[in-house]
């Protein structure tokens, strides 16, 4: 795994890189909050924001091809979510209790008498229960089919906006500076420490996974079928988990060896380079 996989362009010298990290983080959060708060049918504003984010990327000299490849990772998840909204059938509202309407599956709703006897369309029970449930049925958020497709589109655009904004942030801010800024924004030190470990050990663990996959390929001789391959992949992931736990213990030992006493702390010492 490339050592600059997450933040390849973060050490650049463009105008975006020179902005204070607090501004960059604030701007990114603002874009994300606005994107998710806008009414979903305000397409021109969504479009403007997308343009704005692309301009920010171009000012930071992040290549479009690189962005497209990164966004492609996100698309399967976002499209899956959008499709689930667009293609879902809105549930048929339940009839008022005791009524003769249809349930979700189109069955006649049973009613329960105060005595506990179940009956269908019993006139006396109907009169007893109708008073308790006299309010009209709440309209469900699902509208027509066009509305559902609009929501699906909004999910895609909002996700892309938020993802591109976050991508811009990590590519114009060195990760250590980003962590220090998060601390300044009041993010708990434990969370910042966890992010620091996640960043550092993503490379190590993915490298280990790569080595294990290479070792598997070297001994599979191309003969393994799909089922066998899936089984081996499962074993690889299990093995990686155990290795990660072992490494976690060793890292903990290394931290203790240098005076760590269990208290989460984070301090960034700034080194001014000539």
């Amino acid at each position: 795994m490339s050592p600059d996989f997450f933040d390849r362009f973060s050490r650049g010298r463009t105008m975006c890189h020179r902005l204070p990290a607090t501004w960059k983080l604030g701007l990114t959060l603002a874009v994300i909050v606005i994107a998710v708060s806008l009414p979903f049918n305000l397409w021109p504003i969504h479009g403007c924001m997308l343009c704005l984010v692309f301009v920010a990327h171009s000012l930071a000299r992040i290549p479009v091809g690189y962005l497209v490849r990164r966004v492609a990772w996100l698309l399967p998840f976002v499209f899956g979510l959008a499709a689930s909204v667009a293609l879902s059938r809105p549930p048929v509202p339940l009839a008022p209790a005791g009524g003769e309407g249809l349930g979700v599956r189109g069955e006649q709703s049973p009613t329960v008498s105060p005595a506990g006897n179940t009956s269908r369309s019993n006139a006396s029970d109907k009169s007893n229960l109708r008073d308790d449930h006299a309010s009209p049925p709440t309209p469900l958020p699902h509208g027509g089919e066009g509305r559902r497709w609009s929501i699906a589109g909004a999910i895609i655009v909002r996700s892309a906006l938020a993802f591109l904004a976050a991508l811009w942030l990590v590519h114009v801010t060195p990760f250590d500076e980003l962590l220090a800024t998060l601390r300044r924004f009041g993010v708990p030190v434990l969370l910042v420490s966890l992010m620091s470990f996640l960043y550092r050990y993503s490379f190590v663990l993915l490298d280990e996974l790569d080595k294990m996959r290479t070792a598997r390929r070297a001994r599979s001789f191309g003969a393994a079928g799909w089922s066998s391959r899936w089984k081996t992949n499962g074993q690889l992931v299990g093995s990686l988990l155990i290795r990660a736990l072992d490494r976690g213990e060793r890292v903990h030992g290394a931290m203790c060896a240098r005076g760590w006493n269990g208290e989460a702390r984070y301090a960034r010492v700034r080194f001014d380079q000539e």
């Binding site: 050592p3 990760f175 550092r200 290394a254 060896a257 010492v269």
Partner: protein, 292 residues
Amino acid sequence: METSSAIGTQPPTPSTQYSVLSTPYSSDADAATPTKSDATTTLLRVCNLSYRYPNGQPALHDVTFDIPAGESVGLVGPNGAGKTTLLLHLNGLLPDAAALPSGEDSATAGIAITVGGLPMSRTHLPEIRRQVGLLFQDPDDQLFCPTVGEDVAFGPLNLGLSVDEVKRRVVESLNAVGLAGYEDRGTQRLSFGERRRACLAGVLACQPALLALDEPSSNLDPRSRRGFIDLVKSLPAAKLIASHDLDMIVELCPRVMVLDHGRIQADGPTASVLANARLMAEHGLEVPWRLR
């Protein structure tokens, strides 16, 4: 099984087997009863240290030795001999801190490890960890911060030093290991040799009196290895170097200990111990090229 039988029996008296062991370090009785001059110069004292892993497997048995301030000692032995386990004990990483005594006094009776006159106890653990700098075998275990500067600063910050002092130590340590100007470099962007040097810088920044180095030359190319050996040689601190690189041990350490099956099998001048072909063969080692 061979291991358990070796552990379970009384250790042979090494001096009867190998003439090279008739040195000041070879006698258990001598080591257990320090003289007055020893007390003033001995930096590390390990006395009858035994340890079993949580699964019951024996790891160390009656390990006894001492290291005077400033001395370099090699620790050699086959895989699984207990070298890393011994080094982890010196830093208080084994056994669990909960298993350590909590006494605040400096009485050493019944305590297997003493560093700088301080018995290994929960109270003295922070100071002992400052005095014993442990370099791990895998640099990725030790470099856990996103940048080199932050990682080197980790120990000094935990010592409670001021930011200016931390910064000074970081710059000094990186200069000492030949990584000047690497403060803002991402740790994942370093070569293996650079990572090992950065780890050493992190240890040196705590200004330890004893460096415990676990396989410091493993996986290094010849040039990096040479550079690392020269670097370690230039450091004034006492050193305990666990390694399979016997030529490096010959070059760096005037004294060597052979550890096998959890016991110290030999302890004496490097040139004598490592030149003993029979001893080397018995413990899965070879006479190094420099001594052939």
